[in-house]
């Protein structure tokens, strides 16, 4: 119980302080902070359309957060969720607009598999280079992000794209992921769609693999004490490659929210940095899969909240507020940690 309180206390204090600093900045540019915040809160959480938008924004962040966390459990720092999502997304979209005759029951699983495989390939390359040549995964994944972006741009601009646009043709209608408003009438007008269910499923599978299987046990051992893993004769290279592969695959699936749930085509830049925000999500959630859902929701508020106040304050201010919050939350989680240790020590 205490644990839960501590883990909520940090982010909460951070949010309050960030809002306070934000209020000062808003006043400085001559706007009324109460009014701006009012719009922001009403826009995001005050109505079902807003909540749907927030959940829509949160969905890919759950995937990228899980992706980064998975690698982290094995002691690996995957900066490459962005590139993995791009490659996975393109592979899925290609499947979607190529196999147009397949029925949905086959095509949807196929596109999801393609998304996983694309991302997994990108993760695999980084993991393989690490295992085989010892080159650091942080460098590998950053470089692969550049390659992924360039490759996608080439594929769209030169081969598959519709002229004068930056997107591909539309995917087959039978690969569409339904929007919740279409199925249930909830969150009317928002693109919040069934890929969210895939995210939840993925979270559960993540937890299951990491905490219940021998493979997950080995990954955790590797992440906490590589020398002990070696003496327990675990196959470390294989574990490194596999965990990067899975990590990349999860990030890859993160693409389906936008491609099959919203626009129905692959568009350059669709990922909007979700891979990088995933790092912050995993960090704040401390790689706990369920905390990742909550954290992603919070980041969803930030992302969509920015749009709701776009007309009142400059776009840059929204970006500043978001960055401020991320920094503060990360700092406060640390501070509360230190306090907690002090407290427990003296208790």
């Amino acid at each position: 119980m205490n644990k839960v309180i501590y883990s909520i206390l940090g982010p909460l204090a951070a949010i309050i302080i960030a809002l306070f600093i934000g209020a000062i900045i808003i006043s400085l540019i001559g706007k009324d902070p109460v009014e701006v915040y009012g719009v922001l809160f009403y826009g995001t959480l005050g109505n079902s359309y807003g909540i749907g938008q927030v959940l829509f924004k949160a969905t890919p962040l759950i995937f990228t957060g899980l992706s980064v966390a998975f690698a982290f459990k094995a002691g690996l720092f995957n900066i490459g969720a962005e590139g993995q999502m791009i490659i996975g997304g393109f592979a899925a979209a290609w499947t979607g607009f190529t196999f147009v005759t397949l029925p949905w029951i086959i095509l949807i699983p196929l596109t999801i598999i393609a998304a996983f495989v694309g991302g997994a390939l990108w993760g695999f390359i980084a993991g393989y280079l690490k295992a085989k040549y010892g080159s650091h995964e942080v460098i590998n994944t950053i470089m692969l992000n550049f390659i992924a972006a360039a490759l996608a741009s080439y594929l769209v601009n030169e081969i598959y794209g519709i002229p004068a646009t930056i997107h591909t043709p539309e995917v087959s209608g039978s690969s569409f992921l339904l929007r919740f408003d279409a199925i249930t009438g909830l969150f009317p007008g928002s693109p919040f769609n069934t890929s969210f269910l895939a995210a939840i499923l993925c979270t559960i599978i993540f937890y299951f693999i990491i905490n219940r299987t021998p493979f997950g046990y080995q990954i955790r051992t590797l992440g906490l004490n590589k020398n002990a893993a070696e003496y327990a004769r675990m196959k470390i290279k294989k574990l490194v490659v596999l965990s990067m592969l899975i990590s990349g695959g999860i990030a890859g699936i993160g693409s389906i929210n936008f491609i099959f749930g919203y626009k129905h085509y692959y568009e350059l830049g669709f990922s909007e940095g979700a891979g990088y925000i995933g790092i912050a999500v995993a960090l704040i959630a401390r790689n706990n899969p369920f905390a990742i859902i909550i954290t992603a929701f919070f980041f969803g508020i930030l992302e969509y909240g920015g749009l709701t106040i776009n007309t009142m304050v400059p776009k840059e201010l929204v970006t500043i507020l978001q960055a401020l919050l991320i920094i503060l939350v990360i700092t406060f989680v640390r501070i509360i940690d230190v306090l907690k240790i002090k407290f427990l020590k003296s208790a």
Binding site: R212, Y217, L224, N225, N227, A228, Y231, R233
Partner: protein, 498 residues
């Protein structure tokens, strides 16, 4: 004059484990004061409190007659108190010199003055006759030498009161002698030494006063000249007789492990093991005697298939050694290789065994099976406190060791490699482990025992091989040799049996 006076110190962990229960300790200036007691008796905790690692719940501390609040190691160092921990606190990728000066680096124009640092450290090493290469990285040093570095660190900080928590656990008899010479020398310089050890002959040899702890309480304080090893042991563990298993003689012998002309390279691609050959049969315990750093580490890694030999052949049950082979291995360095500090006791008890059918349910690890298994081991091996869900890092050193031993010995494997299996164990626990090893070998297992404790080797082994400079030139029948003779071969004074 009292250098240290701790009065009625009480310390409780997690509201249930009373590690120190109103302990009082008086240490005279210039004496060597031994603290002894079972695993988990509270020795390290008491010393950690003195060194400012954590505050006591109750009690007072006086240093040189003044009451002090020692709320951090930095404060302890100011008061000229230094501590070498049971588990070393060195930074592996840094060099010896860097580790020694870490935290009190001499500066020149905001830059590290390495030259000055090196001069001072060299001066200390020569005046205290401690020999170690200052440029080597810690990660490439054997434990015995790492400890030297820890002591140098204290001397570099001008410590007057030196706390050594089980310093001899990792040393060979020769190294222990050297350490004791150093301690005698420090004492003659007027320094005060507090020494924790489980080896009572050492207590007898070096200390002036003994404090005995049991279950977090002081059960005896005595001048060393008034005590015998037996009387101290009785105070430590009570009236329980320590039972000793006798080795049975195995009837049919079967070849289990064959090591043939094996050469193994170390990290720096130097031949650490050179052309070594030996065999171990079922029911046999082969001891490896040697000064730390003579290749036993690399040899053990090769036999446990962690490191590939550069030349030669290792066979297990007549099949070439493979990674998949199930080999029980109690590693020499439990923290580095034997446990995962942030795992619970139960999780640690299945380390390396997570895929065994014993714990399997479909594709998962069955938690209830793990729980049953862990609870059984915790009771059989007397791992304390009895709580399989706490993190293993909150167990005392000896109890962590018991967990490693329990896990490995109960593994279903024909070969047990035991490197310093009783390192850090109290006499009762140590003899329990001895008995367990003997029982396993009587069941027909082959045991490779690497130890720096010659008495242990002589007691358990059927044969003893001496490794010197990466080579094994002699293998004795254990009942036809003695500590003195082994010592000669271990140090290279004698090389070949003629």
């Amino acid at each position: 004059m009292l250098a240290v006076e701790m009065i009625a110190i009480t310390k409780t962990f997690a509201e249930k484990v009373i590690a120190n229960n109103s302990i009082s300790l008086s240490v005279k200036k210039g004496e060597v004061h031994a603290i002894v007691g079972e695993n988990g008796a509270g020795k390290s905790t008491l010393m950690n409190i003195l060194y400012g690692m954590y505050p006591p719940d109750k009690g007072k501390i006086q240093i040189n007659g003044n009451e002090e609040i020692i709320n951090s190691p930095a404060r302890a160092i100011q008061l000229k108190i230094g501590m070498v921990h049971q588990h070393f606190m060195l930074v592996p990728p840094l060099t010896v010199l860097e580790n020694i000066i870490l935290g009190s680096e001499p500066e020149k124009n905001l830059l590290l003055d390495f030259k000055k640092a090196k001069e001072r450290v060299s001066q200390i090493t020569s005046s205290f006759k401690i020999d170690v290469n200052l440029e080597t990285k810690i990660e490439n040093l054997p434990v015995g030498l790492q400890q030297r570095v820890e002591i140098l660190k204290l001397l570099y900080r001008n410590a007057e009161i030196l706390i050594l928590d089980e310093p001899t656990a990792v040393l060979t008899p020769q190294e222990t002698n050297e350490l004791f010479n150093t301690i005698d020398f420090l004492k003659s310089e007027g320094k005060t030494i507090i020494l924790i050890t489980h080896k009572l002959n050492e207590v007898k040899a070096i200390s002036d006063t003994i404090t005995v702890l049991r279950h977090g309480k002081v059960v005896g304080v005595t001048g060393t000249e008034n005590a015998t090893i037996e009387s101290i042991a009785r105070l430590m563990v009570g009236e329980d007789k320590i039972y000793e298993e006798k080795k049975a003689n195995i009837r049919e012998k079967k070849l289990i492990l064959e090591v043939k002309n094996v050469t193994v390279l170390n990290e720096n691609s130097v031949e650490a093991v050179k052309d070594v050959s030996f065999e171990i049969n079922s029911g046999e315990i082969l001891g490896i005697a040697g000064v730390e750093g003579n290749g036993q580490h690399e040899l053990v890694e090769a036999i446990s298939s962690i490191r590939k030999p550069a030349k030669g052949k290792i066979t297990l049950n007549n099949a070439e050694l493979k990674e998949e082979h199930n080999i029980a291995h109690i590693p020499a360095d439990r923290h580095r290789n034997g446990i995962v500090m942030d795992f619970s006791v139960a999780e640690n008890l299945i380390l390396g065994r997570e895929k065994e059918n014993l714990f399997k349910k479909d594709i998962t690890i069955d938690e209830s099976k793990v729980k049953t298994f862990a609870e059984k081991l915790v009771h059989e091996y007397d791992i304390r406190p009895v709580d399989i869900d706490i993190k293993i890092k909150s167990l005392s050193g000896g109890n962590q060791q018991k967990a490693v031993v329990a896990r490995e010995i109960t593994k279903n494997s024909d070969l047990i490699i035991a490197s310093h299996p009783t390192r850090g164990l109290d006499i009762k626990a140590a003899s329990f482990v001895h008995n367990a090893l003997i029982k396993e070998s009587d069941k027909g297992k082959a045991v490779l025992l690497v130890s720096s404790d010659l008495a242990e080797l002589l007691k358990l082994s059927d044969r003893i091989a001496v490794i010197y400079n990466g080579q094994i030139n002699v293998i004795f029948d254990a009942d036809k040799t003695n500590e003195y003779e082994l010592g000669l071969y271990m140090t290279g004074s004698k090389v070949k049996n003629e």
